[in-house]
Symmetry: C2
Subunit: 317 residues, 2 copies
């Protein structure tokens, strides 16, 4: 089974929640958007990190640095979803399912690190739940599993930036650099692009028209914008801003967990070579008419982008 098949099933069942006045945006974007009784819009997202999938099996739970990386990533992934909507995070709820025998001091330390990172991004931990996983026998242990729900508020001027609103004629831009997130360890230390998203949304008349954060690879995530917006996205492989330690251009397209922002904007609304707080902005493609989907133009021709990238339910490459 792959994650995307199940997601397709879910989206098909939740396509029409319009009879619930409180639901502004349901499943399928980086965040859901909920209307509070007085009309406020709220952003909501939940994500999970699983030992052995999203981070390496913990060899020594007494290592504070390891616990810090895991706790940071658990919080940062959801914060990045808020950024992908152009929003500002406000509060966090977290759950932990701990393997039997996980030391109390390590659990305390892990919580402290999650709490510290949640505070760092302005979204204090206001609730949660702790459970102990079952004893599996055979000296096997259930994985440590954390989930984080983060709430946020959309940009007051721009409102929530969806995936589905890219326009033919727009340019495709990306923040920062791409590729090699796992091997480099950046998947544990990336900085969610909250400030950058806010900056982009503050430029009245030149705000992003659509946006997503890169969790599953540029190819796959660009394809998500393209299909949600019913447009064709053409990425120019020569323009990709790769990390110096990522020498394979193809991996800049297919590697997951960059957590950079991929967004569309009206032509000319951003200057070539622009940056925000020293984070570069790079134009890497354009939105054209045609069958919905993302393609990548390389030296050898056009590639379908949707198959480049990875499915979190697939075995780790």
């Amino acid at each position: 089974m792959i994650e995307s098949d199940l997601l397709r099933h879910i989206y098909s069942r939740t396509a029409d929640l319009s009879r619930f006045g409180q639901v502004v945006v349901g499943p399928g974007d980086d965040c859901a958007v909920l209307r509070a009784p007085s009309g406020d819009h709220l952003l909501l997202t939940v994500d999970q990190v699983v030992e052995g999938r999203h981070f390496e099996a913990i060899a020594d739970p007494s290592k504070a640095r390891v616990l810090d990386g895991i706790g940071r990533k658990a919080i940062a992934r959801s914060i990045s979803d808020i950024a992908a909507m152009g929003g500002t995070p406000t509060a966090t709820l977290a759950t932990a399912c701990l393997p039997p025998g996980f030391p109390q001091t390590s659990a305390d330390e892990l919580f402290d690190r999650m709490h510290a990172w949640a505070l760092h991004w302005g979204a204090p931990l206001i609730g949660g739940d702790i459970a102990m996983g079952p004893d599996l026998g055979n000296s096997a242990k259930p994985p440590l599993l954390l989930t984080t729900t983060v709430l946020g508020v959309p940009h007051a001027g721009r409102g929530p930036v969806l995936r589905s609103t890219a326009q033919v004629g727009d340019e495709l831009w990306v923040t920062g650099r791409l590729g090699n997130s796992f091997a480099s360890g950046r998947h544990l230390s990336f900085e969610p692009r909250v400030a950058e998203a806010r900056w982009l949304c503050s430029r009245a008349g030149a705000e992003p028209t659509a946006m997503i954060d890169l969790s599953d690879g540029l190819g796959r995530d660009a394809d998500r914008i393209a299909r949600a917006s019913q447009v064709r996205i053409e990425i120019d492989a020569r323009l990709l801003p790769l990390h110096p330690d990522c020498t394979d251009r193809r991996r800049g397209v297919s590697d997951g967990e960059d957590y950079e922002l991929l967004f569309t904007a009206s032509p000319g609304s951003l200057a070539e070579g622009a940056s925000i707080n020293a984070v570069p902005l790079t134009r890497i493609g354009r939105i054209v008419a045609g069958p919905a989907g993302a393609v990548i133009r390389t030296d050898t021709g056009l590639l379908d982008a949707s198959g480049l990238g990875w499915d979190h339910a697939d075995p780790r490459p």
Copy 2:
């Protein structure tokens, strides 16, 4: 390690979130209370159900009835937390971590059942995340693990009903009947007391003064109200409304997962023998001055209630 030790650690670290204007109630109650930009209060809770702890290991994932019970419980536990604050549920986010090899059709069915139950309680699924657990080798499989975050709105008149506001002189009441939730299967089929909580909160001048839902057993949960409110709660064991299949009075105090409402109210604000929609209300004790904590008066004397009940991180009795 037991859950309550870790919770104590967490509460000590999050005691003062008052510098965050959006946090009205932080960790330690059934729900957190968040203030939206325009002043609306929102209830937020998250809970998890873990295979082998909160429900039996799934022998046959093709059994729709089994999946329905699991999906129902996952949603209902969080709905019950909203009820415990006197609120109305409005939206749900869910995560699933599936064992490798879990059939696609079973995953679809499980989602459909969660979606149906979330709709049933007026809180449609608006977002979520799916992951696959790691392969553990040794023919061991990671447990199926679901989390549900539910949002709600407090009662417009009463506002959120906290644990910490019981008053000396109040009476202690409980909805429904107690005990034997696991063996009877009621832990999979209980009805969260949303309508009952709303009814109680609608009686201006006679609303509950404090409330909690019974997840960890009457003794332990009564002790939580007592300590949060800094009062002494005396429960009269002879008054406990036991289920007919629970013949041991002690288990009516110590069994977990009844998911009834335990609340305090001014003397005389409810009539003996009252019921709501055929759910009985029973006066089972009183709030007195004295050292904070809950005690139970039995034929043989007073028992400390805090040790009766169970910790979700302890091995299942």
